[in-house]
């Protein structure tokens, strides 16, 4: 049944869904990109795609990162402040990318890095928040997370974050859409097998925002989640919605131990 559903998912009833292709599984080969059973999307990518990620110059995501480095120093808003006025060098953001989403007391709910940046703009700079998926917000999110590149993800789900983690977990395991599929069907049960000509990954978020070849630009984790939801013909949630931030906490915790790779390059 699942085989049929997935075949339908990719628009062909006679596809290669789950052809059971053996996957190279050599810890030494994958270095930091494989921790225990956890495998970064890097290990599922083709060599040509990995090569673009390996050289920051060749990675087009850095075009937005470069622009964000200028924005970091640029005063905006009524307070006349730049990011650098409070935080000094962007290196002060080291570690931030490993911890988010976090529980944010004033909201009584979770907050991810994108939302943290916008909250800072509103509260401290008295500036307009950036639109989700705008080049500015993508660039700044990547610049902030880049400071943690190589550090292991260590998202906390203790204390007040716990109920939101449970919500995210429920979302991950809940069937949805016309194809009646949960995230876990592809990314847990069938990670490493073929879905038509694509290799299903574990859906690890440690490289986001990421430069995606399909998009031909950098994009957020929530954009990717929307794409996943659309693929099972479910109504996607809004980028930045509570549903997706809760899900982000669940999958980020699931990635704990994998290195931050932002900005990664993926198919």
């Amino acid at each position: 049944m699942r085989r049929l559903v997935l075949a339908l998912l990719c628009g062909s009833a006679v596809s290669l869904a789950f052809a059971g292709v053996a996957v190279t599984d050599d810890a030494a080969q994958w270095g930091p990109y494989k921790v225990g059973d956890k495998r970064s999307g890097y290990t599922f990518a083709q060599p040509e795609t990995r090569a673009i990620q390996e050289d920051d110059f060749e990675n087009p995501a850095f075009l937005l990162v470069d622009a964000a480095a200028e924005l970091w120093e640029t005063a905006e808003g009524e307070a006349g402040k730049s990011c650098a006025d409070c935080h000094e060098d962007v290196e002060s953001m080291k570690g931030v990318g490993t911890r988010y989403p976090i529980y944010f007391e004033p909201w009584g709910k979770l907050m991810n890095v994108e939302q943290r940046i916008n909250q800072c703009r509103v509260d401290n700079m008295k500036a307009e928040p950036w639109k989700y998926e705008s080049d500015a917000l993508l660039g700044m999110t990547m610049l902030v997370k880049l400071q943690s590149r190589g550090m292991p993800m260590e998202v906390s789900i203790d204390g007040p974050a716990a109920p939101f983690y449970e919500k995210g977990k429920a979302f991950y395991e809940e069937r949805r859409g016309q194809l009646d599929m949960a995230c876990a069907h592809c990314h847990v049960d069938n990670a490493g097998t073929m879905l038509r000509a694509n290799l299903l990954t574990q859906g690890q978020p440690n490289g986001f925002p990421t430069y995606r070849l399909k998009w031909q630009k950098a994009g957020s984790l929530h954009r990717r989640l929307r794409g996943c939801n659309k693929q099972v013909r479910a109504k996607p949630f809004k980028a930045g919605s509570d549903e997706y931030v809760n899900l982000e906490l669940y999958i980020s915790h699931r990635a704990n131990g994998l290195p931050v790779e932002t900005p990664a390059v993926r198919n």
Partner: protein, 109 residues
């Protein structure tokens, strides 16, 4: 669209007669003219970087013509044989006539 921004990777120093590699990247969607707007069904007009030029001390050393089949954020790498110190100038030409350029100095000894 934000103003396209070029990135250059070129050595700052080289020895006389050395052949050096130069890598370039510029932010640009490279709209192919083949895509349709999902809402209106209209063809989205072509808008690409159609030419790239590299000069050294004013002399053209490498040039490329691009068609819509070049990927978004065009990447270009090539080689230059350097004989004396000087300055590279890299220029990209947009379909709308706008040019974007960047310079890079090189010391040859």
């Amino acid at each position: 669209m934000a103003k396209p921004k070029p990135r250059i990777r070129a050595p700052k120093k080289a020895s006389k007669g050395e052949v050096i590699e130069i890598k370039t990247l510029i932010s640009h969607p490279m709209e192919s003219g083949q895509r349709k707007d999902r809402k209106t069904g209209e063809i989205i007009p072509r808008k690409i970087i159609n030419a790239f030029t590299c000069t050294y001390n004013g002399q053209e050393v490498f040039k490329a013509d691009f068609h819509p089949a070049i990927s978004a954020n065009p990447y270009m790498s090539f080689f230059v044989k350097v004989k004396e110190s000087g300055e590279f100038e890299f220029t990209w030409v947009d379909d709308d006539g706008t040019t974007y350029s960047k310079k890079s100095k090189l010391t040859v000894n």
